[in-house]
């Protein structure tokens, strides 16, 4: 069951990667990056449960806490042209 879900998510990751590569605008890529972050959180959690090590959830938490900040930074740079 876990394995099937993992592969379903990997197919999703592949589709997201296509969007990230093709663009065409920066916003498409930002969305792709954000979606990839969510996919990673899910995949890490799943890999942990599939291999019987639920302590992998620590890693998933790091992603949830940290990955959205990148999106904010990029959007701010696009809007204001500076980071601070």
């Amino acid at each position: 069951m876990y394995i099937a879900t993992i592969f379903a998510l990997l197919v999703g990751a592949f589709l997201i990667l296509i969007r990230a590569l093709k663009g065409p605008t920066a916003y498409d890529r930002i969305l792709a990056m954000n979606a990839m972050g969510t996919k990673t959180v899910l995949l890490v959690a799943l890999l942990g449960f599939a291999s019987g090590r639920p302590d992998f959830l620590d890693l998933a938490i790091v992603y949830t806490l940290v990955s959205f900040i990148t999106t904010i930074a990029i959007l701010k740079f696009i809007e204001k042209g500076r980071l601070d």
Partner: protein, 416 residues
Amino acid sequence: MSEVLLVDSVLLFLVTVCAVAIIEVRSLYAVAMLSSVYSLLMALVWTNMHSMDVAFTEAAVGGGISTILLIGTLVHTRRDEKPAKRRLHLPALLVTILTGAALIYGTFDMPRFGDPNATIHHYRVPEMMSQTVAAVSGREGKQQPPEGYEAPPRMTPTAAEWAGAIHAIDEAEEALEEAQHSAPKASEGEHHEGAEEHHEGAHKHPTDDFNGHVPNSVTSLLAAYRGFDTMFETTVIFTAGMALIMLLRRRREEGEDDFSQRGATLSGQVILRVMTKMFIPFILVFGFYVITHGEIGPGGGFQGGVILATAFILYALLYGRNALYRIIRPRTLEVLAACGVLLYAGVGVACMLLGGNFLDYAALNAASPGDGEAMGMTLVEYGVGITVCTVMIIIFNQLAELPSNPSRRRAGAKAS
């Protein structure tokens, strides 16, 4: 084909596609974002291989801060790569192919992935896993060694050593109790000193010691077995921060302070503002958890420091760099960065003063070397965490600072 291998192959394919795209794409925006995707995929590869500490680093550094710093670099450069002339450079191609072939040839000598007969599972690791503090503290070792493993003689204390050590512990504990009884107001440090003076023999652990008594073997390797390396890695990070200050700090004009650049804030964005305020405390708590928990679970000073820095950077993104400076002055950051390295080296010197070698944490607690190690490693991780956190904030500040002050330059131009 096992599932692990299958998942690995799919991930490797995605990573390769991503890497080629990073080389090909001309827009540097896209490169920054693709590198973020790349590091997310790499973290999945590490997770799949169960190397949690590496995955943690990749998550904290690659997923969060490195993309922000890449964007920060774009503040100082152009947004597109210069178009290069495209032509095939034959010698370069040849060298690349040869190097690649040599590397692949080299991997044939490596044990297969997950091979239980690999050297690493027979040479040092079982020793480390079976290492027991029993001879010193009367406790069991931290983990069970693999079945059929026999510890070498130097790892197993003789009966006489056992008896002597346990006797010494009993005496040390008695002395401690006595000291507490007779002088209840004396400070804790004096107790330990008193107990130690009486029973120097109590501090004894295997001669070829890994300091491997904490549950997370990676941390005990990083902080104790190769503690010098880690200390100088911290120094390298500190040096990087100082170098960036020297390279990028704008020269302050007369009467100008750190607040002269008015940053752009996003405080008009209500949803962002509210969500960030909710998130920042959790990020900070989790960062401290990762540092403190380093010797028990995955993570440690480097990862936790980066996570802490991310919280500060998020604040600076939302409210501007001036708001961040009101919380932490740039000078405080610089001093703290040095303090982290000092704390690491200080723990090492403290071990020497207590009679051990430099960074031999077992010396910190004579009655129970395992606890001494856990304490020493936690202190050292905090040293690393403080330095990493402050240096990351310094790097962000330096990258976000515009090279010169536009408003002042304009004013100067008008005046002339």
